[in-house]
């Protein structure tokens, strides 16, 4: 969800703001993405501390939220880790 809102924001809303002079989508999506980012950070830290994951992986997981598609990669990795 966090990855999707980030992609919507930087892929659609920001170009619309600067190329088509319509900032409304950024004004709407920005706070939504912010709230979902907090939700992502909270659940990731909760799970990683509970499962006692490596500090390096925790930092990578938190940083991935700022990178396009990073959230999807982390999600896949977490699913595989929790399964195995």
């Amino acid at each position: 969800m966090e990855g999707s809102t980030l992609l919507l924001l930087i892929g659609i809303a920001v170009p619309l703001k600067y190329l088509a002079n319509t900032p409304e989508l950024v004004q709407l999506l920005g706070p939504i993405h912010g709230a979902i980012f907090i939700l992502y950070l909270w659940s990731f830290l909760n799970t990683s501390v509970q499962e006692n994951w490596n500090i390096r992986f925790i930092i990578m997981g938190c940083s991935a939220a700022f990178i396009p598609f990073g959230g999807f990669i982390v999600s896949k990795f977490v699913q595989n880790t929790l399964k195995g």
Binding site: Q27, G30, P31, G34, A35, F37, I38, L39, L41, W42, S43, F44, L45, N46, T47, S48, V49, Q50, N52
Partner: protein, 142 residues
Amino acid sequence: MIYLVIKTLHIFFVFLWISGMIMQILSLHVGKTLPGALLPQEIARLRCLIKYDRFVVAPAMFITIGSGLFMALNAEWFHYTWLQVKIPLVVLLAAIHGVHSGKIKRMINTSGSDISFNTVRVSIIFLSSILIIIFLVVMKFI
């Protein structure tokens, strides 16, 4: 009128959230301080705390953040410095809450043997963040 209602709810849920976090810090401090493995009664109390956290504190946190964003959008505060400083502090508090929830769950799973927790450091960060947030909100428009 709706703004005032949302503001009232925002402050109410802030109290629920922060009081829940204080309970987490105290529980972690006690769990770290008392010697030996956790007793069954202590584990039962911690499970109650986790339930309270899941059904009251965590929802209160998300409602606080949601209502805060609603007010900021309505009043167009996002370009003000005070809010730009406040938002990272709120993110920090949410992160601390997530970490402490995980630590309490881990404390139950490992019977208290595998937890690192520095009460003084956590309390300083937690209380100073709240103090700064209150100062920013009271002062506003700096």
